[in-house]
Amino acid sequence: MDRSEEKLWRTPRPCDYYWSEFRHCKSLWNRFHQYYTYGTSPSCQQWKEDYHNCKEWEKHRSAEAKEALQASERGRVAEQRKFTPVWQLRKDPPSDWYMPLNEDKPQDS
């Protein structure tokens, strides 16, 4: 089971995505935007490490590289979810989203 999972596993992103994110992170524009938004400098090193781990996996199927990459991406996901939403998420879209417009209907709640 483990070996077939290893064969099936792919890096969460293609390796060139990590490299382009690293380059984008280091760019002057991004450094400006980071300061303008958060008052800090961006930390870009993780993207570079992820790129190297990605390449390591591609070339040598390194288990350490895979784990490091997964840990890094899980960290990113956790960062994005680090808040309690003010609203409840829907299970289904609103039922009236496609309902035809009735121009003559009076406004009532």
Partner: protein
């Protein structure tokens, strides 16, 4: 609820055409190049060319709310200087044809209102009774639509650098709430403060704050890749 109260309390007074039938527009007006035509044209350009809009439309489609241009967008004349709005009752994005004259402005308004529509689609947003919900969506829309880029703020003569983006988002969310609801500034500020941290950090569906088209394209790329991404975490 009677119509006058609804207009006063929920901002519908800013959008007077919402209660008039479409058939009241004259034939001559429709046949010449009008604000209406310009609005329709600029809307099409925004939808076709903006990576922000494309990602939002994609995300809404995946959430079960495919946006149909003729059904979910409406170019209308509006009061004052308001640029657009989202009408949750009719599930329509209103674009103020008399107040939007530049393509870049149209693109930004379309993105801003699509964020409201996206929130309406994916969450139980109580637009009319829960001011925290309204504030949250306004914070997200100001944050993620490009409303608060350095250049847009500079054009408003609001010059600021360190963390100015957050100041702008806070201020614009406050203005939107005060324009749409009959509450005091103090009350509105309190509500914005309560939900700011949570809502400023909710970047769905972008996964980041898109400060530029390049950011939006990267966000779009990640969105397209989300199947592979989550399957291999």
């Amino acid at each position: 609820m009677d119509q006058t109260k609804q207009e006063e309390d929920y901002g519908y007074g800013l959008f007077p055409e919402r209660k008039r039938a479409q058939s009241s527009k004259g034939f001559i007006r429709d046949s010449l190049f009008t604000f209406h035509h310009r609005c329709q044209f600029m809307l099409q350009v925004a939808v076709d060319s903006s990576p922000y809009a494309k990602l939002l439309l994609n995300a809404m489609k995946s959430s079960g709310c495919k946006v149909l241009k003729d059904r979910h967008f409406s170019c209308e004349d509006c009061d004052g200087t308001v640029s657009g709005g989202f009408d949750a009752i009719s599930s329509q994005i209103v674009l103020c044809q008399n107040n939007i004259s530049q393509q870049s402005h149209m693109t930004r308004v379309v993105t801003h209102e699509l964020i409201h529509a996206f929130d309406h689609c994916r969450a139980h947003v109580d637009w009319f009774n829960n001011y925290r919900h309204l504030a949250c969506s306004e914070i997200r829309a100001a944050n993620l639509s490009g409303d608060c880029t350095f250049s847009n703020e500079a054009a408003r003569f609001n010059f600021g650098l360190k963390e100015h983006h957050q100041e702008c988002v806070r201020d614009r969310a406050l203005r939107s709430i005060l324009a749409l609801r009959n509450i005091s500034r103090q009350e509105a500020e309190k509500i914005v403060d309560e939900v700011f941290d949570t809502c400023f950090n909710d970047h769905a569906p972008f996964g980041r704050i898109p400060h530029s088209k390049k950011d939006a394209k990267f966000a779009s790329r990640d969105y397209e890749n989300r199947g592979r991404y989550y399957a291999n975490l």
